[in-house]
């Protein structure tokens, strides 16, 4: 099986550039403006966390990069360039080649994300046969090798197992094997540890980190857990209601948060040194994204630093070195 030359240049700098991306969803109850001029960049080998509350648009962003959003989603502006490839303008056939091969994703709830009536080894082999340089005879062996790479015990026997025979942690390892089968340049992990117990969470995250480092793979980790993000990621991008409010290297973000929302999130995150009583909650809730009259900065309603300038378009971006920035009229 011949390998189609890739349309994605892994050496591109940056590997992924999302610029001013705006997406809306048409639903029965109105149009949801899910993303508003979202920008972020990711370099080869970099680990970035996309952090925010449920409903802040993290998954929508990830799915947009892969081009797997629901058909009800419409891109109303902006661009996504992955390794030189314009994802939004690319033909479906090109995207099919890229998916699974240059960029891969692992989902939360891994058991539901695997085909329940197909042995896991075959599912890995399917991907290898689709994208990889393997023959039908070699595929099963390579699948077993992948299972060994993600440290599933007794991989040869396990390759014939069905998802319902595996634990949640093992299912997630299988998902990682599926994603990494063709050694993509970018791995997107959408809440990979939700639903797993604490020890398994750590093991899975360690595995991802190790494999990413080994293959010089960029990782985009989507999570609502700031603590998890701080442990595994170089850079953190904080999202609120479809907008990126701050991006900064991890240490600096925690040391010197520049956006009021970031500061609140950090204060609400339990760590080894915080006590339960000192944990603050973030007041208010996400605005209704179906409204026509959303202010330019969607955090306005919950912010104590709010004034009239915050409703003006657009929200001022203050850019610092190495891609860090904050979108706020009154940064800390």
């Amino acid at each position: 099986m011949s390998v189609v030359p890739s349309k994605v240049d892994r050496g591109a700098v940056p590997l992924l550039r999302v610029e001013d991306l705006s997406i809306e969803f048409r639903t029965r109850n109105g149009t949801v403006r899910a993303l508003d001029r979202l920008s972020l960049t990711l370099r080869r080998g970099e680990t970035m966390a996309l952090v925010g509350e449920s409903g802040s648009g993290k998954s929508v962003t990830a799915y947009a990069v892969m081009g797997i959003n629901d058909p009800a989603a419409r891109v109303t502006g902006g661009s996504i360039v992955f390794g030189g490839l314009d994802v939004l303008a690319a033909e479906p056939k090109v995207l099919d080649e890229v998916r699974g091969r240059e960029v891969a994703i692992i989902f939360q709830n891994p058991r539901a994300a695997l085909n329940p009536i197909r042995p896991v080894g075959r599912q890995i082999a399917d991907i290898l046969l689709r994208h990889g340089n393997v023959t039908a005879a070699q595929a099963p062996e390579r699948a077993v090798e992948m299972l060994a790479t993600v440290r599933i015990p007794d991989p040869k026997r396990r390759a014939a197992s069905y998802p319902f025979e595996l634990s949640g942690g093992m299912c997630q390892r299988v998902m990682i094997a599926l994603a990494l089968a063709c050694e993509p340049a970018l791995l997107i992990a959408d809440e990979p540890t939700t639903g797993l117990d604490i020890t398994t969470q750590a093991v899975i995250m360690d595995l991802i980190a190790e494999l990413a480092a080994a293959h010089h793979m960029a990782t985009l980790l989507i999570t609502h857990d700031l603590g998890l993000a701080s442990e595994y990621c170089d850079t953190i991008a904080v999202m609120h209601a479809g907008q990126v409010v701050e991006i900064a290297p991890t240490a600096r973000l925690f040391g010197e948060p520049r956006h009021p929302y970031t500061a609140k999130l950090i204060a609400a995150t339990p760590g080894s040194r915080t006590r339960l009583e000192t944990l603050a909650s973030v007041p208010g809730s996400l605005p209704d994204l179906r409204r026509d009259d959303l202010p330019a900065c969607r955090y306005s309603a919950r912010c104590e630093r709010y004034d009239d300038r915050c409703a003006a378009t657009p929200v001022p971006h203050h850019v610092f070195g190495d891609g860090a920035f904050v979108a706020c009229a009154h940064p800390l």
Binding site: I68, R99, A112, R118, D126, I127, F164, M175
Partner: protein, 338 residues
């Protein structure tokens, strides 16, 4: 392990079989008035009636009668037909292949149309195929099968002359093929007798199609619904996210999962089909067990009717068992945990 699954399923069918036997027994005793009079026939003398009463054991107590009934069943004795004097079981056996051929051809046609239609409707939501599927599904369950049959006869035979006269399994010029299975289509193919094959096919086309139209609706509905569910599932999202080819996603990932509820629905579909069989056999003068029962009904000949009900019920239990087994073998979640 499969052997164990088979045995366990067989065991679970036993209560149904028992229930069927009890109910059919009760039905033979529920005849209005004196059952002996009915089994002896309208022309019987008082003496003949008493003879029948004694012969059929109707003068004994109910539990004893039941034991006798079960014993006769075990010997394949379903009583004798009043009008022909022949044993009912023999007549049923002779006519069974006709009904079986019709029903199975109808099922194959039905599945052959409904499943692709359901898949197409699910993979092209909002298209004309999707709308056609919805209309067929809703309208299909409303069609009285005997009326559809008559309409088809009127249009395709009387008006257009495309179909042959609804006179049974073969037209007047053809003779039945040599007996191998009793299914004319198969038997004529086995003999390489294409003329008879064509004649048999021409005769069975319309009745089979009538029955197929009837069972099309529930099958198409279930296929479409379960394909939609499968296509929207998390694991299909994973498959798409990994760039798998569309054919593989639709057929290997989505369809193989979607087919499971369809198999389960086949049980209900068979219930419809076996009932529709009777009506279609009347419309098309098809010499199967359905028309046998209808003729017996008109003649107030009760033994054949009860034999027919029992046979149909047993067939149905066996069919459901087969469906259960197939499902158990196809779905690894059942196969492995069993």
């Amino acid at each position: 392990m499969p052997a164990l699954i088979v045995l366990r399923r067989l065991a679970s069918a036993l209560p149904s079989i028992a229930g069927v036997i009890v109910v059919t027994f009760l039905l033979t005793r529920a005849l209005p008035g004196d059952p002996a009079v009915y089994f002896a026939g309208p022309a019987a003398s008082q003496e003949a009636i008493e003879q029948i009463r004694h012969k059929l054991g109707l003068d004994r107590s109910l539990p004893v009668q039941f034991v006798d009934y079960v014993r006769s069943l075990a010997h394949g004795d379903l009583g004798n037909s009043l009008s022909t004097g022949q044993p009912v079981s023999q007549e049923l056996l002779t006519r069974l292949p006709a009904s079986a051929e019709l029903t199975f051809l109808a099922l194959i046609l039905s599945v052959g149309i409904a499943v692709p239609l359901g898949i197409a409707a699910a993979t092209r939501p909002g298209s004309w195929v999707d709308h056609a599927c919805r209309i067929i599904t809703t309208a299909g369950v409303s069609l009285p099968v005997f009326f559809t049959g008559l309409l088809l006869v009127y249009v395709l035979y009387y008006l257009l002359g495309w179909a042959p006269a609804p006179l049974g399994r073969l037209d007047t010029f053809s003779s039945p093929p040599n007996f191998h299975t009793g299914l004319f289509l198969l038997d004529s193919l086995i003999d390489g007798d294409f003329a008879t094959f064509r004649a048999a096919l021409a005769q069975i086309a319309l009745p089979a199609f009538t029955m197929a139209v009837f069972s099309l609706a529930p099958l198409a509905r279930v296929t479409r619904a379960s394909m939609l569910a499968a296509l929207g599932s998390d694991f299909v999202r994973t498959a798409k996210a990994n760039g798998l080819a569309r054919r593989r996603v639709v057929y290997v990932y989505a369809f193989r999962n979607a087919v499971l509820p369809v198999i389960t629905t086949l049980g209900m579909v068979f219930s419809f089909l076996l009932g529709a069989n009777v009506l279609v056999e009347k419309v098309f003068a098809w010499p199967g067990i359905g028309s046998y029962a209808i003729e017996a009904l008109i003649a107030s000949d009760y033994a054949p009717v009860q034999g027919f009900v029992l046979t149909m019920a047993m067939l149905y239990v066996m069919l459901n068992l087969a469906i259960d087994l197939i499902y158990g073998l196809v779905d690894p979640r059942v196969r492995i945990t069993a």
